[in-house]
Structures are given as structure tokens and as C-alpha cells.
Symmetry: D2
Subunit: 252 residues, 4 copies
């Protein structure tokens, strides 16, 4: 029987500013990438999110990012690798503390935003994130883009490297993401998106933007929760998979 | 044989800004109150400080404070108790993460600056800090002012409450600190200060500002390291105690 | 003919986090209290808000606050008066810069959140804010609570002190605000609220929580815009006043 | 008669953390690049520095940088140009406010650290800084590296573009700076350095790292003040120039 993990970014509110519908998303996903305070997530939000995840049996991962509240971690920062590694350890530790008092623990690590994108190619920063995770615990898997420098470095370091699929993004025939700058890069129809994810799980292939079939290896699928439309799409994906008998369970 | 712990604030640099001579102080104390990033301490400084403490056998405590880099945690902030508790857990977790990769662990908690002073009397904030420590681990002692609401709440909650002595501060005949606003509140002569600490250890008494003897119970003595003069005083205290056969060892 | 100013807090988004419907509110008020970056408001939000205000003929005031993004400026901070004054000058200057490139200028100052509340009674901080405004420009009026230490200090310093009315708050028979902790402190019905404001403008009196009439002197009325319900209430108030022939115009 | 401006970075303390000997440096330079709070500089430091500069007749410039206290503005951040422009306006306005209450005004703009380096080549960020300055005031000159994209864009926009010379940096035969990674890139001898500056002023040439003479056009020379050695070097340079009859005066 086929299985899949569904992951989503959570805990991204900050003080007075609320972002996303964490409660709704926690009812749909199996893994929660919880912010760690550097790009988003005040301690009270983090504790509440971790407790809610624990109550629903959703696994918590540390969504580590650049130290940049004003930019929401979406701007590349040329941090020295040693400092980046320390920033990542700090964030994992902080979230692990919040998890601990909420009755759970950090079970994986997924970089956020510009850091996620940078370490697709930036070898030094990729190595820094991997070194931080490995120093913290060799038992923590990392979640990232298939074929990225990050996942390669993680595997080399003996970490479990988990590739993910983006449910609402178009893929090239080479199996990479179509750039957001190109037309058709982002998919909007919940039914189309659901059918794609189901095909990925059952057949291991996705229809690329040029109509060809491309093989994609993924153990988790990333859904969004930062708008009502995003929650609806996540709900459609989950529902479609469940009807097809796919078992939704955490990868970690 | 008499024993005493010497503690000092460390890890209070931030990025480009260096504060204190951590290396020198680590050679003198038995317990390091390491900042946690909210009032001071970037992750790289914290990791380095924890590693240096571990290498010298100095025990690490989490020096938790208000979220206030601009004020260095020295300004009272009227944080809601629940949020304060979450802030404290976050800080302990973050430092514990840095300790973990540096081969040690957080072994106690000491509030910093305005938070330290507030919870001498502020029952709600005192209870919040205690709740945070207890939720994180009931095995973590807390270090504070003798007679404070904080130590009382900690004892009630089943935590080990460790009273400390300020080597360079004058005491009233009631055993409380003379306010910094009064003349003679701060002592400057290393020999005087050393003799006071020795008398505290051997006799359990201190000469109060009015000349009377006052009983003070303390398991740790706090020394400073943020100026060359402060390091010299810490060195004098340690040397005096060692010559008198006092065993300097961590309380935790 | 009767006139009134309507003021509201604006520009309180920060990076990815959006707060309030600034466009809608700018269509209803005559004065915009624009955040200055210390409790909320990134530079891009500020510039856009100032430009939109200028385009609609809405006057801009500097909504200065404590340096506390995590607490949204809603927590009292025991800042030293000299430092508070400098923080206030910095904020006014920054917003004036944004106004300047947006074709307008800071025309008044209104403290925000916990600072607003603190300087109702806190003489030193009230004096610090007044000193900052006066040092920046003696031509800037300040907006505050009638009877507050802040407005008294402002008048003494030769600044124009403008008292404001809260449209959705209950008043005591002494003309002070009923504490939010008490039942009935906040009013929710747009029609009731509109009728109160109209009576204040035409008769200078408000019905207090105990049913008695109380005289309230106010040159501006504060409306909110941080929720759809708040915008609806502001719209109702404006509509009611316009129908009654009250001229809505900036106090500054 | 020959003239030269001497500029230096000032106002880079932050709260408890003191950096540099601003008083000493203000006695030596003619232009002070004062931090604006984004990479360094709390409001109280800024006001004090601006007042001290005004008292000594030293001209104040806005030393604008990336929003990055933890990195001291020394890490490239891929900020969107529009947001960078707004960040720059905010900083100029804030410092201008501090200058205003200190009896002076911002008279020029000099980017700091990683931003300074980025806009040597990064056309979009260079254009953004130029647009910000121009929107704020077309009367403000900018200080930068000779031959940089920044100075080119500034000239095109009608701003006065002032090239500067680094007194302690080696130059290539093409007149560019030798990279810090190469041996001999930084000069340490105060006498050598002074002689170089004097030759630059009198002859317009510098001895390049390969021994050849290279023509360098500069209206200002940058000296450092963040260490006792740096202050000594600045003093030597000033003294040498004064003995030679060079008039030290602000370029702005």
C-alpha cells in the first residue's frame, strides 16, 4: 500500500501579527515545519503550535531560516558558514525546548525560504546546515529539494535525506521546478493538483510543463496554509489521497 | 572543609561587539551564566563560550533575560507571565542546543539584569520563570537573590533554589543589598572584597554597611568580568579563597 | 458649524505580516497615526502609507512607541527618560523622511500602546516624550488622553496639546476611560457609537457608564481599522457625522 | 593650496556595547560617517555623536547599511531594490532627526560595509541607494569607491559623486583596491601611510602594490577609529598633512 507524508509551514505568526490558519492545517498534514524565531515565530506561538501538533499526532520539524524578521527569511544573506551553522543549532535547540515542554520533540529539519533556495546550489551554506544538524543529532532527517546540494551533503554526512514534492508547482522535463517567473509555474486548480499528487504516489511520475512524463522521487509533499485558498487546496489533496487508499503518515 | 561556587556572567558579546574577557573569567570561576541571545549573545559567541567552559570544567547555566538587545536586558518590561515563561523556555532550549554541540549541557538557570531584579518582588514574573524552568526540567537548580520571591517560588515548585552572594556589594543589617543609589553600595578594593568573601564562607557572616554582623546564606558568589578591574577583583577573590583552603567547586 | 478630526492607527504591517485595511481607513479618517518602525511598520509600508495619506489629503502624525516588535509596543518598558526622548526623536525623524519622499510631512505626534498608557501618569516618561517633540519642532501638536500627565507637560512646554475621544470606549462619570477589565468597557454597536460621537460634537457631553452625563473635551476622535468590524464602525461614525453636517477636518 | 577631507565611521556603539573612540576620532577628521541604527547605532549614541560632531565643526554624513545588527551590516543581503531604497530613506531621515536636535544636519551619504561593497558592481542596489538619496534631497553628495557603479549612477542622477581614498589599503596598478585576501592588502605603518596620503594630495598618484605609480582621484580619505592603533594612524596622517600645509576641510 502506498504512503505519503504531507508537510506544511506553521508557527509563522509573530506577536500581534497572525499568519496562516495553523489549526486548520494541523488537521490536514502529517508533518509540521515549525518556524524557530529567526524569520518568524515568537516563543508563545511556537509553544502553542508544538502543543497543537503533539495533540494531533503531527510530527514537528525545525523550519530553520536566516535571521531576518523584516524579510521573513526570504532574502539571501551571505552569512559565513560557521555562523550559519551556529544560527541553525540555536534555532533547533530553541524549538526543541518549546517541543519538550509541549510534550514532543524536533524530529526533522527543513530550511526555510531563501535559505532553502540558496542551498540548492550554495555548497558552503549547504554544508553548514548539514554540519549543524549532524552536530545536534545524527538521528534527525532533513527535508529538501530532490537533487539539491543540501540533500547530497546530508547523505554524505550520514543523515537521512528526504526529498519533497511541491504540489502546486510545475516541473520541467528534467524534474526541476519551473521558475516562478515563467508562465504556468504555479498551479491553482485543487482537482488538477490532487490528481498530480495521486499520480506521483501511485506511479512515481508527474506530467511536466511540456506534457512529457517525468519521474520524481519524493517521500513528502509540501502544501501551503497561508491563505484560505491554500487551505482548501491542502484539504482537496488530502481528501483525494485518502479516497484512493493512500496512507498519510509522517516520514520521520 | 569549606566549599564555594564562583559564578559570573559570560557570553555577552554580540556580533561585532565584544564585551568582557570571557577567557580570563573562565579561568577563575566554577559556574558560567551564559547569555541566551535575548539581551546579549549571538549563537557563535554562545557556542564558543560553552565549548570553552566545557574544556575547563566550568558548569554552564542559562542566563535568561528580557528580549531587549538595545537595553541589554536592563530595563523592566511588563511582559505577560505566560509570554515570559515561553521566552524563558526558548532561551534555555537555545542555549542547551549550543551546549549540546559543545559537549556540555545547561545545568542551572540564573535570570539576568532587570528580570533578576524584578522577580525579587514581582510574584507573577517570578512564578513565570519558575514555571518555565520546571516545565523544562525539574532537575535544573535556579540561582537568585536570598529572600527573593523567585527563590521562594522555586522552592515551592520543588526546584533547588540556590542563594548567591555579591562579592562587591554592601549589605544592610537585614541582609539585603544596599541600593546602588546610596553611597558605599559598591565595593572597589580587591583585598577588602576577598576578606569579606572568605569570612562569609568560614563564618557565614558579613559586615553590614552599619558595621554590624549579618548572617548571609549563600552557596555561590557572583564576580564580574566586564572590565579589566573586574577580572582583577575576581582573581584576588579566587586566590584568597584558595590560600585559605576553600574548595571552589560548582554548586550544580 | 461643528468640526471634528477622526484619527486612526495605520502603517502597522511589518514585512510579510499585514495588519489592518489601511486603504479603507484612509478613506474615512482625516488624520493618520502612522507607525514609525519601533513597534510596527517597515520602511516600505511607511512610505506607501504616507504616500496614500498624502494622495487623499489625510494628515500624517508620528505614532511613536517603545522599541518592541515582539510585543507590538503594548508592554511597558522602563526606559530611562533620556533614552526614551532619543528613541522618540529617531522615530519622528525616520517617519518624517518617509513623508518627505512621499510628498508630505509629519504634522503631529501620538504615542502608541503601552507608551500612550504609561504617560497618562508616568511624569518622567511623559516629560521625555514632550522634550523629544519640542526639540524636534515646537510646531508639532501632540495627541493624547484628556487630563494626562502627557498633555499637561506638553502645554507647559508650549506645545499644542490635543485631547482625543475614544469612540468605542465607555467613560466614567469623572470623564476617564473605564478599564478594559470591567464589563461594558468596550462598545460594539456602530449606531450607539455613532450617536455618542455626534452628541460629543454637538453638546460636548457623553453618557457615562453609570448613566450620568459627563463633559468631555476632545478635538479628535480615535477609530480603529485593524478588523473588518472596526472598519465598519469607523464608516458608520463618519457617515453619521456627515449626515448631521459635522465638518470632518484635520486638527493639525 | 591643496585640500583634503578626512572621513571616518562613527556612532557604531549599540546600547551596552561600545565600539571605537568617537571622541578621539572627532578631533582628527573633517567628516563623520555616522551609523543610522540598521547595522549599528542606538538613538542615544547617534544624538551624542551628532552633537559632538556639531560642537567640533565636523560635518555629519549618513552611514546607511543593511538591516543586520547581528552581522554589523557586513553580510550581503539580497534586498529587493525598492525595499532597499525605502530602508535608506528611513535611515537618512532618522539620522537627520538626530542631527536636527543636535544642531546640525545630514550633509552627505556613505553606504556601509557589505552594502558599500555590493554597490561597487550591483547595479540594481546601486540605483536603489541613489534613488533614495535623490528622493530625499538632490543636494546631498554621496561618498563611494572611485569607478563604482554607485558613483556612476549618482552622477547620472545629478548627485555630486565624491570618490574616496583608503589610507591603509594597497592599490593595484589599475587603481583598484587589492583584495583583503591577498598579502600586503592592508598597510600598517603610520609613517608609510601618511606619506602615501600626502603624495596623493600633492601629486595625485599612489605607489601601487607592484611598485608602479597609479593616478587616483579622491576628494576624501577614509581613516579608521575602531582600535587604539587605528586612532594612532589617523593622528599620524592628520599631523603629516598639516605639517605639509594641506588644508583639511569637509568636502560637503
Amino acid at each position: 500500500m502506498d504512503t505519503l507524508d504531507l508537510n506544511s509551514d506553521l508557527g509563522e505568526s509573530f506577536g500581534r501579527w497572525v499568519l496562516g490558519d495553523d489549526e486548520a492545517v494541523l488537521g490536514l498534514v502529517t508533518s509540521a515545519n515549525v518556524a524557530c524565531g529567526f524569520h518568524a515565530g515568537d516563543p508563545t506561538t511556537l509553544r502553542r503550535t508544538c502543543a497543537a501538533a503533539a495533540a494531533r499526532g503531527v510530527v514537528v520539524g525545525a523550519q530553520v531560516g536566516y535571521r531576518d524578521l523584516a524579510g521573513f527569511g526570504r532574502r539571501f544573506i551571505d552569512v559565513a558558514p560557521d555562523e550559519l551553522a551556529d544560527d541553525v543549532v540555536y534555532q533547533i535547540g530553541a524549538l526543541d525546548g518549546m517541543c519538550h515542554v509541549a510534550g514532543t520533540a524536533v524530529r526533522y529539519v527543513k530550511p526555510h525560504g531563501a535559505l532553502y533556495n540558496a542551498i540548492v546550489h550554495h555548497e558552503e551554506q549547504a554544508a553548514a546546515v548539514v554540519a549543524a544538524v549532524r552536530d545536534y543529532s545524527t538521528d534527525l532527517p532533513v527535508l529538501g529539494l530532490p537533487g539539491s546540494a543540501f540533500l547530497r551533503a546530508a547523505e554524505k554526512a550520514g543523515l537521512r535525506a528526504v526529498p519533497e514534492f511541491f504540489v502546486d508547482r510545475a516541473y520541467t522535463r528534467e524534474g526541476t521546478l519551473v521558475s516562478r517567473r515563467e508562465a504556468g509555474a504555479v498551479l491553482h486548480d485543487p482537482d488538477d493538483v490532487s490528481a498530480r499528487v495521486l499520480r506521483l504516489v501511485t506511479d512515481g511520475v508527474v506530467t511536466a510543463i511540456d506534457g512529457s512524463d517525468v519521474t520524481v522521487r519524493a517521500e513528502s509533499a509540501c502544501v501551503h496554509g497561508d491563505s484560505p485558498g491554500a487551505v482548501d487546496m491542502a484539504r482537496a489533496v488530502r481528501s483525494c489521497l485518502e479516497k484512493a487508499g493512500v496512507v498519510l503518515e509522517p516520514f520521520a
